[in-house]
Amino acid sequence: MSETTTPRLDVHKTYKLFVGGKFPRSESGRVYEVTDRKTGDWLANVPQGTRKDTRDAVAAARKAVGGWSGATAYNRGQILYRAAEMLQGRREQFAAEVALSEGVSTKKAAALVEAAVDRWVWYAGWTDKVAQIAGSANPVAGPYFNLSTPEPTGVVGVVAPTRGNGFSLLGLVSAIAPVIATGNTAVVALAPDAPLPGLSLGEVLATSDLPGGVVNLVSGRTEDIAPTLASHQDVNALDLTGVNSPEGPGSARALETLAADTLKRVRRPDVTDDWTAAQGTDRLLAFLETKTVWHPMGI
């Protein structure tokens, strides 16, 4: 008997958005082509998220604020750590996507993925400590108890990193983790040219006990997604890390002008060129409000 062996055909993944804990296609039905950074070869058709997709994501993020900000810091820390565990288990897949997205070797990409795992762990440990470094007991000149504590600001629109060593996954995690560690929820405009690690990160988060809507990932044109976030009444803050257009609707100037209408807190564009560098606390502290509570003392 002669055996004919035909090579097995791979099953390709359909990349989809991550909104409200689900994986929808773009409401527009549109996709765009993502290519290999080095060779320009076609990699995937990814959803071209629209303004409407972004608004849906904001609605999901707003809905998630109460539960997530009300969860205990310990619980949030466990869930962030769980995200690290899930990412660790899928590091080969992510290494392949990072290599293609950033045009680096698989070996280097693997190191970047491991750094991303470690970054989740770093921020997981912060959830129940940030109030202790950002809060204060205030010795007012009178018989009053007076305490300042940080609280999450609410929904944060994040323009994901678009450059710098490790931007596509490590940079993305470095932007998302501090936002949600403190109890905010996030709507993320993924790097338009390198969205694959980000879209796959949704699968990690979906299996990490993270409540739906806490992180929402939208691929598409920044000039559609970012202005929608900047002008949205239900977005409290913006992280413009990945913004690099000098002008036009996706520029910092345009986005900050829109954000001024509702006085959003804005973290301005970042010039990080290496996401493997150790992080400080500035991203954790950027999206916090300080609440000060007074009460008289007496008998």
């Binding site: 470094i133 204060s136 205030n138 010795p139 007012v140 000149a141 009178g142 009053y144 007076n146 300042s148 609280e151 600001t153 409290n236 520029s251 910092a252 100037r253 345009a254 986005l255 900050e256 002008t257 954000a259 001024a260 209408d261 509702t262 006085l263 807190r265 301005r268 500035d282 409000e289 300080t290 609440k291 000060t292 509570v293 007074w294 009460h295 008289p296």
Partner: protein, 506 residues
């Protein structure tokens, strides 16, 4: 600390029988008659009839010819003329601040701190003069300037003086650097106190400043310039440019400025944020408010009423964190309102320099017109308006303490910041409803909670979207206590360790 407030424990049974619909107190009823006890106007010192700016350590004239007038709002008498700062004036001031920045920021923190300690001491020494001057220029009662504003001004400089050589311990890194030249624009409601909130942390951290006081209250800022000279403060570290919004716009948009700090209306705050969009200029904003003061049925009514009165009638209601929306639990609405009206009838409205005065003059004709417009809108929209019988002086800008009942959440008096002695009363049944109503505003500066139940205070405090929550008290301020808003009440904090951040390059 805010005005000393006598609080009495409620005596007797908690469950008072529901009283009949609030009877109007006896018109004009006073517990005691007071003989006038006026503070001496002369204590304010000589007020120059015409004033320029303070730039580079010198009092200088404006490059322009336009002069504005500041009036005593209790008499409409012109107190002085002052310069309308031009773009050229702003340019000179920013340059003076820039020139001074290098040497000032290079000073050892301990030396910078000693200048601030000197300023604090001179303010204490001259506090009577400054209190009287502030009352005359602003219209607020001397009792407030004397007992609240001036002590807090000195305390603020004292507090930040001590930070100047301890910045490495403030948790902003091992060697935090100043931002540079700070442009600071302040409002008219607490002229000297807002100056202190701006200048003290900026100088302690090594910045130099150009400050623009409000166009209706420039006098104490100019007097402060004299204090800087008495303290021997290096030239150009503090510059004061007077003028109206045009001067403020020129200053906040100046490309030579590294940091803008603004306290004032949300509308102007938005405009500044737009102007600075796309730049690297740092910005902190302390804007409007529409605070809920929430009274539960177990609250000691007498204490709560004192807090309500302090919350909305302190400083004529010209307070961004004023408790302008009273949310009272339905079951005690009538009891609280009856007590509140009785208390309001004892408020003495009149001469700001009379030491007995509780409520002074409205700061300006424009502000009075705004308060009248909103109060009229309240009536037109169907809310019920009440004021105690109260004789108002024939000249000057005055508005009687006013309360609106039957207010719905959609009424303008429930939504818009009135910035005057006008209280809107709404009711609620459950704590959840109170939270929802309290948070139903684009603002988020402050809130008040009155209840005897500790767990409820903490639950409410955690749910209220406001930067300052006063529980069983209201309108308390302290230099160690961070102050600032959520949402459209602005961003950044003033006061405390947190207040350093706005002036550090972190």
């Amino acid at each position: 600390m805010a005005s000393p407030q006598k609080t009495k424990k409620k005596t007797g049974a908690v469950a008072a029988p529901a009283p009949a619909p609030a009877p109007a107190p006896v018109p004009g009823r006073k517990l005691f008659e007071y003989a006038p006890a006026p503070e001496s106007r002369a204590a304010a010192g000589e007020i120059a009839s015409s004033n320029g700016h303070f730039i580079g350590g010198e009092f200088v004239g404006s490059s322009g010819k336009e002069a504005l007038k500041t009036v005593d709002p209790s008499t409409e008498e012109v107190l002085a003329e002052f310069a309308q700062g031009t773009e050229e004036d702003v340019e000179r001031a920013v340059k003076a601040a820039r020139d001074a920045f290098g040497p000032w920021s290079a000073l050892p923190g301990a030396e910078r701190g000693k200048y601030l300690f000197r300023i604090a001491r001179i303010i204490q020494e001259r506090s009577r003069e400054l209190a009287v001057l502030e009352s005359i220029d602003n219209g607020k009662p001397i009792r407030e300037t004397r007992d609240v504003d001036l002590p807090l001004v000195a305390a603020h400089f004292f507090y930040y003086a001590g930070w100047a050589d301890k910045l490495e311990f403030a948790s902003y890194g091992p060697d935090p650097k100043p931002v540079g030249v700070a442009a600071q624009v302040i409002p008219w409601n607490f002229p000297l106190l807002m100056l202190a909130w701006k200048i003290a942390p900026a100088l302690a951290t090594g910045n130099t400043v150009v400050l623009k006081p409000a166009e209706t209250t420039p006098l104490t800022a100019l007097r402060f310039a004299e204090i800087c000279r008495q303290a021997g403060l290096p030239k150009g570290v503090v510059n004061i440019v007077t003028g109206d919004g045009r001067t403020g716009a020129a200053l906040t948009a100046h490309p030579g400025v590294d940091k803008v700090a603004f306290t004032g209306s949300t509308e102007v705050g938005r405009a500044i944020a737009r102007t600075l969009a796309g730049t690297r200029t740092r910005l902190s904003l302390e804007l409007g408010g529409k605070a809920a003061n929430i009274v539960f049925d177990d609250a000691p009514v007498d204490q709560a009423v004192e807090g309500i009165v302090d919350g909305i009638f302190f400083n004529q209601g010209h307070v961004c964190c004023a408790g302008s929306r009273l949310l009272v639990q339905e079951s005690v609405h009538d009891e609280v309102m009856e007590s509140l009206k009785r208390r309001m009838a004892t408020l003495r409205v009149g001469d700001p320099l009379d030491k007995n005065t509780d409520v002074g003059a409205i700061n300006s004709a424009a502000q009075l017109a705004r308060i009248r417009e909103l109060a009229d809108a309240g009536e037109a929209e169907g809310a019920e308006r009440w004021s105690p019988a109260c004789e108002l002086p024939s000249s000057g800008y005055w508005f009687a303490p006013t309360v609106f009942t039957n207010v719905s959440a959609t009424h303008r008096v429930a939504r818009e910041e009135i910035f005057g002695p006008v209280l809107s009363v709404l009711t609620f049944r459950t704590p959840e409803e109170a939270v929802a109503k309290a948070n139903n505003t684009p603002y988020g500066l402050s809130a008040g909670i009155w209840t005897e139940k500790g767990s409820r205070i903490l639950w409410m405090a955690s749910k209220l979207r406001a930067g300052v929550v006063w529980s069983n008290t209201f309108n308390k301020f302290d230099p160690t206590s961070p102050f600032g808003g959520y949402k459209e009440s602005g961003y950044g904090r003033e006061g405390g360790r947190h207040g350093l951040e706005a002036y550090l390059d972190v």
